[in-house]
Symmetry: C2
Subunit: 667 residues, 2 copies
Amino acid sequence: MTTTIAKNNTATVMGGPTPENAPRVIIAEVRPHLSSGRYAIKRIVGDRLLVTADILKEGHDTLAAEVRYRALPDGDWQHAPMIFSFDDDEWSGEIPLGKVGTTEYTVAAWTDRYASWAEELRRKVGAGVNVTSEILEGEALVRDCASHAHGEAAKQLNAFAAQLRGAEDGTAAVRVALSPELSALANANEQRDDLTAYRQPLRVIVDRELARFGAWYEIFPRSQGKIPDQGSTFIEAIERIPAVKAMGFDILYLCPIHPIGHTNRKGRNNTLTPGPDDVGSPWAIGNLDGGHDAVNPDLGTIDDFDTFVQATRDAGLQIALDIAIQCSPDHPYVREHPEWFRRRPDGTIKYAENPPKKYEDIVALDMWCDDYVNLWNELRRVFLHWVNHGVEIFRIDNPHTKPIAFWEWLIAEVQRDYPGVIFLAEAFTRPKRVQELAKVGFTQSYHYFTWRNTRLELEEYLTDLTQTAQTEYLRPNFFTNTQDILTEYLQTGGRPAFKVRVALASTSSPTYGVYSGFELLENTPLLPGKEEYLDSEKYQVRVRDWQAPGNIVGYIRRLNEIRHENPALHLWTNLAFHDADNEAILAYSKVSPDEANRLLVVLNLDPFNAQSAWIRLDGAALGITGDSYYMMHDLLTGGRWPWQGLAGWVRLDPQGEPVHIFRLEQY
Amino acid sequence: MTTTIAKNNTATVMGGPTPENAPRVIIAEVRPHLSSGRYAIKRIVGDRLLVTADILKEGHDTLAAEVRYRALPDGDWQHAPMIFSFDDDEWSGEIPLGKVGTTEYTVAAWTDRYASWAEELRRKVGAGVNVTSEILEGEALVRDCASHAHGEAAKQLNAFAAQLRGAEDGTAAVRVALSPELSALANANEQRDDLTAYRQPLRVIVDRELARFGAWYEIFPRSQGKIPDQGSTFIEAIERIPAVKAMGFDILYLCPIHPIGHTNRKGRNNTLTPGPDDVGSPWAIGNLDGGHDAVNPDLGTIDDFDTFVQATRDAGLQIALDIAIQCSPDHPYVREHPEWFRRRPDGTIKYAENPPKKYEDIVALDMWCDDYVNLWNELRRVFLHWVNHGVEIFRIDNPHTKPIAFWEWLIAEVQRDYPGVIFLAEAFTRPKRVQELAKVGFTQSYHYFTWRNTRLELEEYLTDLTQTAQTEYLRPNFFTNTQDILTEYLQTGGRPAFKVRVALASTSSPTYGVYSGFELLENTPLLPGKEEYLDSEKYQVRVRDWQAPGNIVGYIRRLNEIRHENPALHLWTNLAFHDADNEAILAYSKVSPDEANRLLVVLNLDPFNAQSAWIRLDGAALGITGDSYYMMHDLLTGGRWPWQGLAGWVRLDPQGEPVHIFRLEQY
């Protein structure tokens, strides 16, 4: 009987509790979580986070629980009550996410001694049991609450205690015991002597709205002039801003703007024999004029950049900057920090490559070199440098070729002081690497959208992205094209293909983007079967005629207007598919949480032939029944069709309008 | 550039790495796991555990990985190689579970520098690139391996290094580089300079075979005599053992065997007015003769108990003992440890109750009293006392009315020194409490089986139990009846109902049990609509005629024979349902992993009427196709029917045989 716990018992090794640290209340699981708290989930400021927990205790006591939360790193703890949501020991509570940054949340639970006693009293009186002793217990419990209460509350509690003692019978005692006033006072003042917190704090990254909803437009600043083949400066590029804004974009994304290397500079169309006037790839970063913290003198000075950023802001746009962690052989790092590069046995630096692909104009930093801590700190300095020049959105080139742990650290470091900063991962790599980069902190990610073209592909792809646990952390950014990706569908499908893909990107995902030239239907590949553009802007200045015949500038402007006007398009997980009896027709809906805004998008994926179909609507998803009458208002054309019930017929001609964006309106 | 990491940075608070502790290889998740390692999974000795992991690294290097495992608390670490199982960054390896106890497992991964170099060389040579520099690198790499190798291996590696340098062209170099001898030598001796282990060790509880496969038979030792109403002793009960063994049971489970209280002793049929000869409930534990470590003198001495245990063992059976953590008011604890009980304000001890139910003959221990650590240690002493008397299986009464953390600690404490000990939870409570008790260590659990009777109920119920993550930790024990549960189906369905339920229990679950009297078709409730037995053995001695007419002793014996002879019935997750065009007919199969043993069980759930049905077989589950010919051999009756293809017809008459247990045999 006097055995004491052996100090060296292996219960701890086995992972379990010792009697001394045994939890009084079991909080088995708190949701949502990613890998039990290893990673943070993501939300948007203004969202309310529903937190649920399985909370258990032996026996029959009544429990109470609350969500506790605070803004990291040092906000005050706040709490929100939880309610027992159904008869399977699940509790739930909601917390407001009012501040951009990381919020920590956890759950605490305890025995509600007073409520437990009152419930037992009620059941016993109901069963006709003598409750004299129970009333004495209750009186003592209420007096104990009074002893921890102050002023008027203490007085009231003592008065209730006397009422309990004086109750003429059990029924009268139950009436006093269950009175809302006494219950509230007791709950507020009773001792939470077995209060237990969840074993693991969880985290939610709260981003600004732009992290979920935004339209991106990519430009090369040097191509924004008016004279063919002649590069433009930041100051000249300012003239282009109003047109981008007029198309309805939210974010103006710039390819790298740093000095470009001369050694092994690429010529036009990725050739290795550049002429003296060839401008080189902006991703071959660094020369005698500077590295990642410098501006290419051809574009102007850092002051000119600041002026450009300010002009963008004044127009109501935000700047995103491309950061590629790699160096031209002429980069200052190569001279100043030879220890940051991997060398061959013959003493030369290793070039970046992915055999048989070669990138002759860039060398890779060795992110795990012996001096990597200083390298990482320098890279953090670079990011903070651009934040200080007004860049709050970064598009990260090939993040999957740098350590995942580096990004986790870097993003946390930047967001600690600048929690609004957005990181978009250009992670065209295998799914689990894309997911892991998102889990460790990337705000958004490029994704496989460009390569999903058939109805079956799109339905599977979008269902996986919008209806699985990935929605807790992965926000895809649906680019229709990039400077590297001109898909076969666009190469061959002509104007209808461009319209379908941009309508699909902009209505299925709240975040999407286009690389400039898309609106001009640029569709010539370098070689048949390749996704590289002919005369790629990566290797030469491309001055365009933005009013070229056949352009879809107006179409894109209308799509962006529709996006802004319809809150259903601002969300991601509200996507639902509807069946069509023609495989060329894709139909999906988005409905706002209050159901006030209901859209049905129908696309003809065939860019060559008119297609028609009966759409069988999922009534639950759209809030309609077989008896419903409603007007289908096409927001693209203004056309209106009265529909009834759960089916409707469409015909879409690619030579006319290959897409309907219907809003369901009152008949 | 010389910035150092701020010591107080909040990256750690945010949950992420610092550069200094950043993992080199990302092991994103290791499976199987329960709540990221908070709980152990369960397996059986002799099983092989398939461990998979998502392993990621930036760039294009070739990785290598292994599972590391050791018997806790202090076994030596061993390792098993992992292979890249498919193109989604998932690796897998298998470890043998050769020892009963808890095994810890984790995953370690590193860059296979040599293989990475060889693969790069192969791709470059294939692309026609000059590889002079690469060969120099490879030579250096192999020489480095040699410098860490010993004796012959070092010599061979140096010879290979020379061969590489001397290779006449790239193709020849590739031939040397990819030779199995060099690859193996390099892999074995290269430095694992970025070796990274998973963040969290995981655990698997390895139980003995009986934890998964066993048939239980419950008796009251005092009812094993031959003279009506006269109690039997352990020594007399020994005579009953051969019959239990002959029925094919594996485990003989005894209700509590301790001294029974006198205060508020219950009379027959749970009355409060016992006569002087009433024996009381064995669950009202403790009187002047002793408490939980004592034997009821009416049953004999502790030596007699030892004799009984030895006789059971000699017969090839194992003993399970019921432990109920509760006390008669006469228990020694009440006098010696008044601090272990909760008292009312009037000084009396609180009785156990669940209003309106009352248990007047027992008082509850206060498991969280101020002195609870000593109380828990005393209870551990009680369990170890019975282990020392040969009890290696405990059936725990109402575990959900004691702290879950207590069980986690207690089970770990007992299994630390006696890893073969089995704990069965009598947790008739809400699902998440049942699950949590299983997660924290209970080997098996009673479950809701008795209340699942219709085909739809059974299909849903068994699918949930056999096809979800619960199989990692929860092993239900399907009792057909207990001393507390006589279901309506048994009360009303007569002999066919008893046959159907025991066939269902014994073939759907590898672990099942019956409470004695079942084989005699005892089916009279205390009151209509109640599940209590009339003249319950809980409150009186019940001497039975084991050869009573109509008994199903032979039927149960045959079922247990079939169970032992057919390995498909030893497993749990191999259950698959087959459709029948009659709702009264339930059909399911079990197939052994090697597919050598294939059973199809078909039951008529209607105990009153003959029912027939076409069974539509799931060919994939049974390993048959529409072209298959096979013999359906009914193991109950010996009947044989040739079937062909994916459908077969059955007719089951409850007055004959309501169940087929078919073995699929060669035609």
